[in-house]
Amino acid sequence: MSARISRRNVLRAASGAVLALPLLPSLGTRAARAQAEAAPKRLVTMYTPNGVIHDGWWPTAVSSESEFQLSSSHEPLRPYKDRLLLLGGLEMKVAADGPGGPHQRGIGGLFTNMQLGEGVFVDGCGRTAGWANGVSIDQRVAAVIGAGSPVASLQLGVRATENDVQGRISYAAPGMPLPPLATPIDVYKRVFQNFLPPATTPDEDVAKRLLAQRRSVLDAVAGEFAALDTRLSTQDRQTLDAHLTLVRDVERRLSLGIGDCAKPAEPPVLDPASEADMPKVAELELDLLSLAFACDLTRVASFEISTALNRIRYPWVDSLGEGHALSHSGASDADAKAQLLSRQNWHSSLIARLFDRLAVVAEGEGSVLDNTLLFWGNEVSMGTTHTHDNMPFLLAGGTWAFRTGRYVQYTDSTNNRHGDLLVSILNAMGVEDTTFGDARYCTGPLSGLV
């Protein structure tokens, strides 16, 4: 945290590192350009499932908003205590009803503030729902601040293997979920692979020719879409129109290139389903995210650790129970509680790992971390009740928008809306909307943050 390194020096320092990935990349002239402009802002939405053990989540020894002890769950974030904003007492009203069960409604509403549509996904309690009926906040933000990024946004997943509403936190549009990348190599390929066609030389003329060829190929592809168009039903045509729009968007972003950012070494191939690989998958995905942020290849990411109904063990923190089952046992069972607390602690340690990497990259007068906001949420408050009150919400990172280093407890029932928090996050990211998602659960920015 202390001595920040210039991007160039970081490159030199990292070149001799024995890490699987260099700690930080070369940024070359991009750094100079970025410093001449206002520093970009970045957003991370993070999800962990099944609620929390509240006794062990919220701060203790609270004598004022800014005087408190972090709980064991947030111990790894102690070096960043002045960058944390713990928000107690917020209610996620959007998840109170509508189609689906509490896990489904919660994960669907968490980052969209919209209820689920009717649909075909069956939850653990036999209820059914479709996808969330709205864009998620990361995608709303990406549409504004990520429009010029080579990678529009990144969706990272760690054993997030429920391939339905319960495994998706990011929505490009109502009913249009974005799947998470499952392993570091997938993230690596998404961020670094396609900017030049495979097996090319760094020769600029060659690169230009290859990009021109790619454009011609995609022109031909567009011609094929047009040839099919008139013979389809209206619904099928809409499906293909949306696809073609994505083709053009991918092409445009790939043509932006990765500038002078040095391509890091390929991460190791890890098993997305493996218990043994799980910590490394999470860590290396975040390392790659820190590279993508530092290189300004993307400005928005979501990060999803498993899914609500998981049966995953965390042996590396001595938790041999299965995730969802443990959460149902909760605070009344001492062993289950200890296991859940150690999981919460590990989740915090991942944020600390990301922050460690962002904090050492100089940007303007500060660091990349100074310009990154992370919002960590959960789809239910606690596993024993599946309610959506007193949600375990945490903001962390940059201090430009909110007064951090605080634990704010909302007790006024008219001012405790999760939807309002999302509006405040939007505003912090430079999106000047006054509402987000379902207006019934949203009155404007949340008070007490700035």
């Binding site: 939850d123 799947p179 066609p197 022109d219 592809v221 149902h328």
Partner: protein, 554 residues
Amino acid sequence: MRLWSWGFSAASLLALGAVGCDQAPAAHPSPNATAGTAGTGMTAPQSCETPSPGPAPLHPLTRFEYDNILRDLLGDTSEPARAFPPENEVDGYRTNANANHANPLLVQSYLTAAESVAANAVQSRLQSVAPCADGVDSLACGRAFISSFAARAFRRPLSAAEAQPLSTVFELGNAESYAKGVELVIQAVLQSPQFLYRVDSLRAPTPETGAIALGGYEMAARLAFTLWGSVPDQALLTAAESGELLTPADVEREARRLLADERAHDIVRDFSEQWLDLSRLDGAVRDGTTLDVNVLNSSLRLSLTHFLDDAYFGAEGGFQRLFTSPSVWLDDTLADVYGGNAPGQGFTSQTLPEPRAGLLTQPALLALLSHSDQTAPVIRGVFVRERILCLPVAPPPPTVNAVPPDPDPTATTRERFRQHTEQEACSGCHRLIDGVGFGFERYDQLGRYRASENDLPVDESGEIVASNEDTLDGPFSGAAELAERIAQSPRARDCLATNWYTYTFGRQEQPEDACSLEQLKTRFRSSGGDLKELMVGLTQTDSFLYRPAMTEGP
């Protein structure tokens, strides 16, 4: 998927009702009319005399199909779709059209795959992929390549409007080299919607009403996708071209030919993987062995593949064998864990000394349906009811303590799980579930046979209740007896047929599917449970042979 979300105990149970478990659970409890699981509660409309196909939406290729097609079209076995994002699943099936749309990651993955596959094809296999004899004009070779390759990739001859963009991009590349022209054409074809989507419905130039019989090429594509998970071969395309693929008899003839091909085994594997949710075995840790989890699980999956191959395609194959075959396929790894002889190389079919009866007692399935440290009677019971018998089970209330009871060296699993059926609030549902699940108590969390548990005798008595089938209901002793009863059950046969239907047509059943489902079930039953006939039967349904008219104007 629902199955895995089930809770297990009720130690801290609050007041709750038994949510309707005492009623006959024939229909799905969902309020949404279209949301049924693979149920059997659907009733056919009064008449199926006129064709009544279900909807025919655009299907994006699954990863399985994509890789198969590249193998068949270009000889590319690199399986690039392994790097694609996973399909969204409905009822466990990745084929669902309505749940799967393009997204940026998928579109970028298509581009990545197209570029690397095309480069590889021209670098290593140009002469076989796009032959061009010495002295022949490369433009002529390019035209020939486009009309042959793209037609196979698109599953039909190209229109002029479809050929033109490919010619343009070929000529651009050909200015550099013939190989480059071919490479760019491959790239464009592999990113075209005619390739990436199964387009079953192309509007006729005249207004449509009623059920529309499929044309030969559409039929050829449906056949190849349904039975191979790939594109038609030349014989299918030839039959389509010559008008020999229009009648149900034509389709049946070709279906039988396709089923005799090795690729039909792949489709059984892909279906079964989703039906049984086998991907849950990846990374699953089970106590009781020091073997590497990936080594063990990979052997278990292969063992099950051998078993299913035998049940579907073996000389004695069929539904009966699927549920009662005593055979288990073992390699050295599995012989070490489950007993039997180490074959030295590969897998051999063996009959172990203990009772084994078909699918439900295959080591892979039993290990899948377990906790890491103990068996999972509830998960096993729910699996049999929902996936094998299409009997949806009502949910546990959210307030239950769902932690399985800790292993206890002084008690059996059955004793520890007993409170389900002793507490009145739980017993309404759990008597439906646990009675089935306890029947598997002879098989531990690895699926190994056990004579005793913690030196206590194992009680493997069980009971099926409220199945809506008299011959299925009643007490039984052990998995073999349960399996025998399932093997005789019309409900179980219908359930398998319904699962195949959901997988094949890639959507949840709609009211319009009732006739097709009935056709399939009837054929399967009257075949005496011949699994190959079940697969042929898929191609003889209204939903296969027809599509609904497009009612809106062009």
